[in-house]
Amino acid sequence: MTNAVDIRSISRSFGRTRALEDITLSVPDGSICGLFGRNGAGKTTIMSILAGQDRPTSGNAKVFGEHPFENSSTLSKISFVRDNQRYPDDYRLHHVLRIAPRFAPNWSVDVAAELVDGLRIPAKIPIKKFSRGQLSSIAIVMGLASRAPLTLLDEPYLGLDITARALFHDLLLRDYSAHPRTVILSTHLIEESEALFDRVIIIDRGRVRVDCERDEASNLAFTISGPADAVDKLSTNRRVLLTHAAGGLRSATITGEASDELVLQARTLGATISSASLPELVAAYGADAPESTLIKKGARA
């Protein structure tokens, strides 16, 4: 399978701030990839570089085998509306619907109309007066109706009500089935959108922490829950990403797969072991100073 996106050792600095640190990842053509991480982790910067709106300080980023920066033919295959997108003064909905097809060769009038209607985007109000949810809605219209071979959706759910989110999910899957493309979607509503993804990437502090098939993600970490003493004992010599404590109870998210022996041991001590869910995994990799919760240095589980 060919890759829609190939990123090799890119770093990006803004002054003294390192937004991306030696990122290497690839996204297969035709996949729907979830890009997760905390605010400021580097998600938008990656998307911005892929969309040719920014350049890495070092390294290479290719889209469909080409560098996107100032590359007209590659840019015509990419759709990227940032979460804080600015629009020209006095723009209203019809301005966007009139001009976007000029730049998007695969633009679907039907998809745009269905979304405008379903998301109830106001036609007469200037876009600069839109609410947060309405701004997200217009970004979704541009993202999905463009049917771009690489569609980058940056926090598309911000401010959207649950009905609108459901419509977005439904239309994305329906239109993707009919017109396959590569989608990279960043969101904090992981649980709600998890079913969409066939691939997940987790980044934190500008570094890739996880890059795998979605099904593999459940094997990357497990959670031990139970009495604090038991959890501490079972966590010994394992790499703990995140811990939670409430009274005498504790839970610890630990990298790797739990062995049968560990599961039995946990049962004996009154603790339970379960695979870490995707939201737990993202939260764990985004936890501050994970090294401070490392229970004794040693080999990974």
Binding site: Q53, R86, D89, D90, R102
Partner: protein, 236 residues
């Protein structure tokens, strides 16, 4: 090339700002000029008299009013349209080229509008009552070729200057326009210091085409500056 054409269309997408607002401003200023003329009329001035004609033709109100709007338009075509153009998939190169073409189209459009209105003004003997709105000295005093050139170059200069200031803002934030302004003031000051000793000779030798040449130079410098500032600019 199609990316450049698409960028031109992106600017033309603001149809009201492009086609309607300049007309509205011209109409409003014309109306205000007429009202002022009526005040003078009521205060004893006689339409058609030498003083009336001289005073009316010396009033550049229509130019000032339009320049303010065109300056804003030049800024907004870059400041707010550039981020959206990148989102749509335009290259920086196509955006700068497309914006310059649109600037020229806008300048031609306004020049033609002014020429038509001036022609009507002349044909109606200044709106039947001796009102001078477009037949004014600063626009060439009803000399059509001169009017077309003055309006075209004036509008294009204003739009491109607005564009380069906006590009400075996109590239460096609030510091960008300040740096450009400081640079322009310094350049003008150096030019003045250098040329002041020859001021009398320059004034004697002055030709109108010097202004046209200066205008073309400014347009070229502003367009190059816009490109140099936007080429490495990122949108965040």
């Amino acid at each position: 090339m199609s990316a450049v054409v698409s960028t031109v269309r992106l600017h033309l997408n603001r149809r009201a700002a492009t086609f309607i607002v300049p007309l509205t401003i011209a109409g409003t200023v014309a109306l205000i000029s007429v009202l002022i003329a009526l005040i003078f009329w009521r205060s004893g001035s006689q339409p058609g008299s030498e003083g009336w004609i001289y005073g009316s033709q010396s009033n550049p109100g229509i130019v000032y009013a339009l320049l303010g709007f065109l300056g804003y338009l030049g800024v907004s075509t870059v400041a707010t349209t550039f981020p959206f153009a990148l989102t749509l998939g335009a290259t920086r190169r196509a955006f700068v080229a497309g914006t310059l073409i649109w600037d020229a189209m806008m300048a031609a459009y306004i020049a033609v509008i002014f020429a038509i209105l001036t022609a009507i003004e002349i044909a109606t003997n200044h709106w039947f009552v001796g009102f001078y709105i477009f037949d004014i000295y600063v626009l060439g005093g009803a000399d059509m070729p001169r009017l077309l050139l003055i309006v075209f170059l004036g509008v294009l200069t204003t739009l491109t200057i607005g564009g380069v200031f906006a590009a400075g803002w996109v590239r460096f934030g609030a510091l960008g326009p300040q740096l450009i302004a400081v640079g322009v003031v310094l350049a003008l000051a150096i030019a003045a210091i250098t040329l002041v000793p020859q001021a009398a000779a320059i004034a004697t030798a002055f030709q109108l085409w010097w202004l046209a040449a200066a205008s073309v130079t400014v347009i070229i410098l502003a367009a190059i500056g816009t490109w140099l500032l936007l080429r490495p600019a990122i949108v965040r």
